[in-house]
């Protein structure tokens, strides 16, 4: 069975839901600990949401230096699929695996609501089960969700089709270009602020729209 690592830092909140989503998708979740420089041979890694190390200094700024993250950065550069959700997205940006940064929401409020996203790119390790233009509903819940990057970086992301998800309806945080998620040049590393792992079953979330991300990576692992 395909194994997908789920990292836990001190202050991580959504590792349990991420592991559950992996299980729903038909893979085996493997718990990875922040202090261990060991990926346990997993085929993909999820960096889940929460407030790693209290988000002191900046969101994700301290987590990027955790021993497990050095392994993730090396493996990701070698093609390992990595998904960063919320705080995980912030960590991947701080670690340099994804460009840009996440700043305090423009409205200065913690925003927690069901959010509609448009899937802009399906040729990534985490979105192949979607159709371009799909509108999906998943929860967003964060304080620092405003994606920001230099004008040239944003132009590059847009030009290369590396915006994976875009907010539709209303933009919850003032993100440039309504950007909710982006990917690396290879499409193997994806980060997004909203929480697909909270939307895998209508019993416990607004939809099952998020499950496709956890199922997609199974294809990426087989085809790699």
């Amino acid at each position: 069975m395909t194994t997908v690592g789920v990292i836990t830092f001190p202050g991580t909140l959504d590792d349990t839901d991420a592991a559950r989503a992996v299980r729903y998708a038909g893979a085996e979740p493997v718990a990875l600990w922040h202090g261990d420089a060991d990926l346990r041979g997993v085929a993909a890694v999820i960096v889940p949401g929460g407030f790693s190390y209290g988000d002191y200094l900046r969101a994700g700024a301290i987590a990027r230096f955790a021993p497990v993250m050095s392994e993730v950065v090396t493996a990701a550069r070698g093609g390992l699929p990595v998904l960063g959700i919320c705080n995980g997205f912030q960590i991947l940006c701080e670690a340099g695996l994804l460009p840009g940064a996440l700043l305090r929401n423009a409205g200065l409020h913690f925003v927690c609501r069901d959010q509609t996203l448009r899937v802009e790119r399906t040729s990534t390790a985490w979105t192949s089960r979607y159709t371009e233009g799909d509108e999906i509903v998943v929860p967003v819940k964060n304080m620092d969700g405003r994606f920001t990057a230099s004008r040239s970086t944003v132009d590059e992301l847009e030009g290369e089709g590396r915006v994976v998800f875009r907010y539709t309806g209303s933009n919850p945080n003032g993100s440039v270009g309504d950007i909710a998620g982006i990917c690396s040049a290879s499409g193997r590393v994806v980060g997004l602020m909203p929480h697909p792992e909270h939307a895998i079953d209508p019993l416990t979330g607004p939809s099952a729209d998020g499950l496709g991300m956890f199922a997609s990576v199974l294809d990426a692992v087989v085809s790699a």
Partner: protein, 79 residues
């Protein structure tokens, strides 16, 4: 031993809603004339003599600030 001050500020082109919130509160509190507020971070480091300026720059650039969104200054104070 020396004291080193590192100031980290959002880059000028970065929207700073926290600074704006402070600026917007001032007139309500009866303080007129403050046109703009930018909010940043101020670090005070006590360092021994083995820490050179190059190391301090690395600390400021690689950890205390995020060069994507922030500028920093490093200065040694006192003696």
């Amino acid at each position: 031993m020396a004291r080193v001050v590192v100031d980290v500020m959002p880059k000028p082109e970065i929207l700073d809603p926290q600074g704006q919130a402070v600026a917007n509160a001032l007139p309500r509190l009866g303080f007129a004339g403050v046109v703009e507020v930018r909010q940043g971070k101020h670090f005070e480091l006590e360092v021994d003599d083995s820490v050179d300026d190059e190391t301090l720059a690395k600390i400021a650039e690689g950890f205390l600030s995020n060069p994507v969104i922030e500028d920093f200054t490093v200065r040694r104070v006192g003696a």
